[in-house]
Amino acid sequence: METLEQIKKRIEAAVPGAKIDIVNNGSPSAQHSLKIDNEHARDVARFLRDDPALRFDFCSNVTGVDWLDRVIKKTVKTKQVVDGVEKDVDLTSEEKIPGYLEAVYHLFSIAHKHGPVIIRMQTGRANAQLSSLTPIWRSAELQEREIFDLYGIKFEGHPDLRRILMWDEFEDFPMRKDYRPPDDFEWEPTPHDDVLERAKQHYPARPTETELKPS
């Protein structure tokens, strides 16, 4: 299989205007991915599927990821002149990354038996919208519905975008990292941390000694 750089170059040649970034993966798995832009996503996907050398005809896994607002602290050592003396000073810069939602597609080729190539698309957390790749790979149909249900990304061009796992009246997006489940902690005999905090709200105002004693 070609390297990601080669694939990136060929996509950029085949799909004019497409913005492709390689996202490096530091873990030993070394599965790097391609970040593609929203407007050209379907063209890029079609190229990946139909190009005779690549033929990624099998889209295995489609998933959403929620990234909250993050602050990345970078510490750089610089030399500064303080009171006429040169000193090593740690400069801490904070980079604020606004939260975003991501859809990740794992592609394999059954024709050439290679893979995976991972493509990812990003969108903001409010009004999340991406273009659906279901017209390219049918296997994305249910999985994109699942992302819509659990993360709230609207897939433009999806044939049947409804809630799939939760009921239709449900309003939240439970897999988002800032989701809090409803309160049903009346009976929690073994609570910890967060559960303990939430179970405490059900305790009577005046604590009694007898409850804690083993029966």
Binding site: W187, P189, T190, P191, H192, V195, L212, P214, S215
Partner: protein, 226 residues
């Protein structure tokens, strides 16, 4: 010929029907409750706490380190550490669980509490006939119900329990030897300094700190810190 396949299938059914009276291989029904298949050595159902000797309170191996509470995937263990210390089976003063509850209506029998316990204090029971007509208090097992003797443990897991006993004995012997060496060193020092009283009574190290990150698995866990 049409119908040959069905006839062939009927022959199989007939062979099984007759065979179920004659062949042991096809006679599989176990007449529970009169007849029971023996449970294998490794079978696990719900956790129990092991105590040495005869007194469930005095001999309890648990020192309320709360590792199992933290590692339990469905969080079904609740422990409150005691304020005072009691001597454990080795005679060392240790904390003990003032409250140790396991909600067996939540427990998923995954054995992770056993794997992470550095004191061989929590083990898996084989009792499965636990149907109850009520839920809340009946299925919340307290320390008194959980405490089971080492003999009971030997009875349900003979191979594993023998290995655990061996490990504990080796650890105790090693600790004894170390203590003697330390005592010898301190007496040698004491002749010059004159302060050797408080050393042997103090636990060697904080057990929780020592066991963090250990690669314990049943039967080969690091011994209790003493």
């Amino acid at each position: 010929m049409i119908g040959a396949g069905i006839a062939k299938g009927m022959a199989v059914t007939l062979r099984n029907f007759v065979g179920s009276y004659l062949e042991e291989d096809r006679l599989t029904t176990v007449q529970y409750p009169e007849e029971r298949n023996p449970l294998p050595e490794n079978y696990r159902n719900f956790p129990i706490l092991i105590f040495d000797g005869n007194d469930p309170h005095a001999g309890l191996r648990c020192v309320a380190c709360k590792i199992c509470e933290k590692e339990c995937p469905p969080q079904c263990i609740y422990i409150t550490k005691s304020e005072d210390k009691k001597p454990d089976y080795m005679g060392k003063p240790q904390f003990y669980p003032a409250v140790f509850d396991i909600d067996i209506s939540v427990c998923m029998s995954c054995q992770i509490c056993v794997e992470v316990c550095p004191f061989e204090a929590i083990k898996m029971d084989k009792e499965f006939e636990l149907s109850k007509r009520e839920r809340f208090n009946a299925l919340l097992e307290r320390k008194e119900q959980l405490a089971k003797s080492n003999e009971y443990y030997h009875h349900i897991h003979p191979v594993e329990a023998a290995q655990v006993d061996k490990n504990l004995a080796e650890a105790a012997a090693a600790a004894e030897a170390k203590k003697k060496a330390a005592a010898a060193a301190t007496t040698a020092k004491a002749s010059s300094v004159g302060d050797a009283v408080s050393v042997p009574g103090k636990p060697a190290a904080s057990p929780t700190a020592q066991s963090l990150g250990s690669t314990s698995s049943p039967g080969v866990s690091p011994p209790a810190a003493n």
